[in-house]
Symmetry: D3
Subunit: 188 residues, 6 copies
């Protein structure tokens, strides 16, 4: 009953366009395996390139929102969106970045009861609002977050990460993208 | 930022009524620690006794629904109810009973994409319906489950386990019951 | 078009295990008939015993929440869960305990517009939150209820009654448990 | 803690415009009291006249949908809309028209488990769809109802009654309209 | 793929009862065409008369809520109810009455982000609450609106217009009522 | 009461990085004005570049889904997400590409009642499912769409466009991005 990586064709690494192949090999070098999202999205090379450019613009840069906190946003909203891939993969990264083996599972099940600070809870409240009902976001949300010490550019980061992974969650669910088994064990 | 076991007073093991103390020591003997639910619910000894009598009547007996499948029901519905304790504790038991380190996390995030059989998916579809909108349960649900080979008594078990853990999820959330750290690592 | 007591087999009173038979006869002695929940749940004697032990631990004891108010919690949440049996049976008990022939119907349709005190409305607001989204229960809910004069143990009672009858509602809906006709007329 | 008839001013019968006064006296003659909806809506005489003209056009005429079934539509949808007035008043009329003391309470709590025919259940399924998500009504709904023997004009009646009482429910809730105590006892 | 005016028979103007025919001709004289709602509802003359009497009682009279603001209520709630006819027809009237070609589309998509005053936003917040969950309307809503300068009779108007068009939206959706093409262009 | 383009700082065109400035000037040349999304997202040049690369990969290429149909997907899902910018801008493009002045407004209010083919309705049903509950997407959805003549790659396009604009809707709502006034009039 094991599902394939994607319901769409998955290219062999050697059949990938060269730039994508280099990216896949670089990540394999770094973490020891090629995360399935690289294989599943490579079915569409143009979209692949834009996806990872966007991903890196949000997740790799410096920000007032720490890298661990950014992963926490991904885990909370991806769990709410029922996305196997993102919860498994970013849960692993969160465990590693936060050096905490419990946090990812806590945030995935119910961030309100997780071992986080009030500031982190406010961050995730906002992320969930952007995820579930962005049409209601307004000045009061910005006031609340500023009151916790977030700058307006931090608030953009929280919202944009949520929005980007909301797209990613939908892509993963429509392709039935399968997380690599390795993710479940990382950082525990 | 670590939460306590419960927002209510938690008795010392030596202060427990004798029958409850024996139960706590027996489980400690078996799994190596006292699961926090024993301590949190011991705040109310009468309710504790009824809770575990009910739990054992549903989870320890023989049934057409395997013990691993029963844990799967608990994990799927408890995750939907945002219950940290039940997902952590029964996720651990599911990993052990199914001898599968991935299944509990898959079922917690999105059982529709988990590595399960169509019969197990039908079982979880029904459990989710009992959990979310039992008022709509009707003959058609029974027909569907019978078509997958479940007897009417199996269907009672699926529904009763869902109903019992729906209560348990609400108790855990209203007391902010904390899972023991040990659960997160078991069976991986 | 009259439905049977349960979609599952209903034992004859004389075929019941002796302890259950004594309970059924005692209640018959007291109210003049055997409430169908005794017959429907007797299909599973072990579960029956735990169910009523739990029920009595919550509903028969002394508490800062009056017996009439406890019935009000049952009626409000059971109506929201679409449970014929619990609304009919506990509506009857509420009419009797509150000596008020209108209150049960008011609470069943919309407790916010019922003839109740602000303290009772706060109690039912909390019960509905535990019933519908216990995962969001937090400190602010406890502060609100304490402000109305509830102790933390009263708050446990409100939540635990809600949780227990949430289970009961699901059991009644999955078995299509039929209320005795007598309930509809009691206390009017 | 008894609420007034309406949160808006309620005119004395003798202060009503003559045509409205005659309507109020006629209904008082017929049922023994003036239903509060006559007093609450008389705050706005023009709206009052249109309201009752519409009401009578839908509820008093001949139709393939019996008068009892029309009341059943009102009770089911008004209960779902949390409308005290309409459930109490039309529950009373339903008990009388159907010569059945249980049916109104059954339909108010969960029409799916009420003692009704499959044709009546299909009627209420459609009424609930018009009430909750009319934007999704389409050809398939008409096919289903025709299959149960409803004509297209019957289907108009079911939908229009639902729509009219959806308005009525909102008016009653915004004015906190109180049902007369007499309704609760009628037809039991 | 052009839909007809209604899924029900639509009478010829010359076959209409005389009072209805005069109404249709009068509106045709005024706006240059007969709005389809006159034809679709004329299938039921008694209901037609009550409908328009009610409509005019709410929409033509003087009120503390301006005629443009009343149209805004219709557009916001009708869009939320997915009603083609009411959004097209009352969007056109709103553009004309507010002398603003953008406002109707803004309000239809998301009134929270429209070019409106805080008082108008409070008005629409209340209208949406009456539309979506009138059972929760209470004193706090009245306090909020009074704080923005609305009288209690203004609040009745806001709620009653919402309730009336909630009915109208359901009628339009159950008949698949088609807006006249002319509406889309008016007032731009 | 006119809102600014964005709640974040909006750069002058001459202050933009050169590649972004060229893009803005090229679109200005083509449509006569710079759409506000170019200015609002230019607050974050790296994200801007990835956003438009992704946009063009989905919207400018050849596909079994026509360009007009792709715009229809954007309008239907963006309206459901309450996004002023995307409904105004892509509504304009849809009117132009479909050479139909009514279609965009119909699809924005209720695509189920729009003048579209059954194949287009199936396409939008799927887009709405990906938008609202992608976690439930499964084989049955693919079977339905294949039955309407869509290839698996067409289905990817439908889902990926929905996912991308779901991100875009969230970005627009979190920044309160304002549509250019010109959009409302184009193609009517």
């Amino acid at each position: 009953m094991t599902h394939p990586i994607s319901r769409y064709p998955v290219p062999e690494i050697n059949d990938l366009p060269d730039d994508i192949k280099q990216m896949a090999l670089a990540i394999q070098e770094k973490v020891g395996f090629v995360p399935n999202v690289f294989l599943a999205l490579a079915h569409r090379p143009e979209e692949f390139r834009a996806f990872f450019a966007y991903h890196d613009a949000l997740m790799e840069k410096d920000s007032g929102v720490s890298k661990a906190d950014r992963e926490m946003i991904v885990v909370a909203t991806s769990s709410d969106n029922g996305c196997q891939y993102c919860v498994a993969a970013h849960g692993a990264i969160l465990r590693i970045r936060a050096r905490n083996p419990l946090l990812a599972d806590q945030v995935a099940v119910n961030y309100r009861k997780a071992d986080i600070t009030p500031k982190q809870k406010a961050m995730l409240d906002y992320a969930m609002k952007v995820s579930q009902r962005a049409e209601e976001v307004g000045d009061a949300d910005f006031e609340t977050l500023r009151g916790h010490g977030f700058s307006d550019d931090d608030i953009w980061d929280i919202g944009a990460i949520t929005a980007f992974f909301g797209m990613s969650n939908r892509l993963a669910n429509m392709t039935s993208m399968r997380p690599n088994d390795e993710f479940y064990q990382m950082g525990r």
